[in-house]
């Protein structure tokens, strides 16, 4: 028993020690090498804009937006028509603008009406980067529930409607943020979450 305890402790110490050593060494490497190339890296891998197709000249596409209902804790679908093309990123940006405008039914908007989309990139690997203006952080005082709703309304609106988009990264003013309001981790890409959506 005592042996086992000792083994457990030393194993744990080993793990923590390894973590600490790695952290310190990598901090040094970080400062001497590399740097903040995230945004440039994203910019380089943006899909080139496709040549204008016939579709974009007056074409419309139907998209599903996600809003909240006063009666439950779920996201509810509402369809909306937006101008088509030329790229998925352009359509995604329009879909988000419709999401921000709010519901045409009685649903609640999960995003502050002042929210602003600065840009949407879609990476070759299927990651969409949505860059919001600072209003999305400043105009709401988020609790866990409203922050989860805001994040997944955005993520689902992109990942459910646009086949090239498999996961979504949310940026604010061109940079990665910890959270929108103190809860949901924005450092990882999100996949669509249909568990939060009403049937």
């Amino acid at each position: 028993m005592a042996e086992e305890k000792k083994a457990g402790i030393s194993r744990r110490a080993f793990v923590l020690g390894g973590l600490a050593v790695a952290l310190v060494a990598l901090a040094v490497l970080f400062y001497t090498g590399g740097g903040r190339e995230e945004i440039r890296h994203i910019a380089e891998t943006v899909l080139p804009k496709a040549a204008p197709s016939e579709e974009e000249t007056g074409g419309r596409v139907s998209v599903t937006l996600f809003f909240l209902s006063d009666d439950d804790d779920l996201l509810h679908r509402e369809t909306r028509e937006i101008a088509a093309g030329p790229t998925p990123a352009d359509e995604a940006e329009r879909a988000l603008e419709e999401l921000i405008k709010g519901s045409e039914k009685d649903y609640l908007s999960p995003l502050p009406p002042q929210a602003r989309v600065r840009q949407v990139f879609v990476n070759k690997d299927g990651t969409a980067y949505v860059d919001f203006g600072k209003e999305i952080m400043e105009k709401f005082s988020y609790g866990s529930s409203s922050e989860l709703a805001a994040v997944y309304a955005v993520v689902n609106t992109l990942a459910v409607n646009f086949r090239p988009i498999k996961r979504v990264v949310i940026l604010v003013e061109g940079a990665e943020r910890e959270t929108l309001g103190g809860h949901v981790d924005l450092s990882r890409p999100f996949a669509a979450n249909l568990a939060l959506v009403a049937k």
């Binding site: 194993r11 590399g34 409203s146 910890e178």
Partner: protein, 290 residues
Amino acid sequence: MLSDAGSIPAASTSFGSSDVLNNRKLLTRAAGLPLLLFFAGSLSVAGLSGQVPSQGPPAARGAERIKTVVIDPGHGGIEVGAKGKFGNLEKEITLAVGLKLKALIEKNMAFNVVMTRDRDVDVSIENRSAIANNHKADIFISIHANGALQKKAQGSETFFLNLNATDEETRRLAYLENNSSQLESRIDPSSDDDLMMILWDMAQTAYIRESSRLAEMVQGELNALLGTRNRGIKQAPFKVLAGVACPAILVEAAFLSNPEEEKRLASEQFQAGIADAIYRGLARYLRSVT
């Protein structure tokens, strides 16, 4: 030894003024391979032992090995959190509850209690995790009051981390496919990124089962003591939970956005009830790990 937010400056200098990236991202930069492999080795030990009861940390760590409890009152300073219509702020309620919980634990248990803040100050989420990790937290409890757009939303819930397992699994497999042979010569900056993420996730996964048990016990006490609607235990990708290397929960005591619950949350009696419920849940959890 008794620590409090007086230790925040120390944590800040080692981990992070605003230009320092979070733990994981730090690890993802230009990592040297030998270091990575060493790190991989040590973490996989932790990951495996997490699967086998009665062996090593963290799953079967007895209560006697738990020495430090870190309490994290959500928000603070300019970051007010949710707001009630009567003007109550989440940051005030979380701090009041956190201090009461600290007092209860110190009075009745022999643990070292560390607060991520003990007054109305900004603390980045990164620093909250760093404070916990620097103090070798054995249990991490983040305290919040909820906010929803739906005015009727009400009740208590307790969260633990959701790492989005399917996505991790995909990444792990993709990584193994691309790097199974000639690891050394083929590793590139982007796969460093993936590898470090996988390693961190492995460590986190090892704590999730314990976190869910702790969440369950705290949630049970919240409902029993507060008489709030039971919203159950849930998983979410909350930043503060993702950075902490021990069992970790986030308690949403009630809804500030619900006027009835806001009144209750603002009362000292209800705040004491929340602290008491968390304390009792913690005590039950500790008995169960002995």
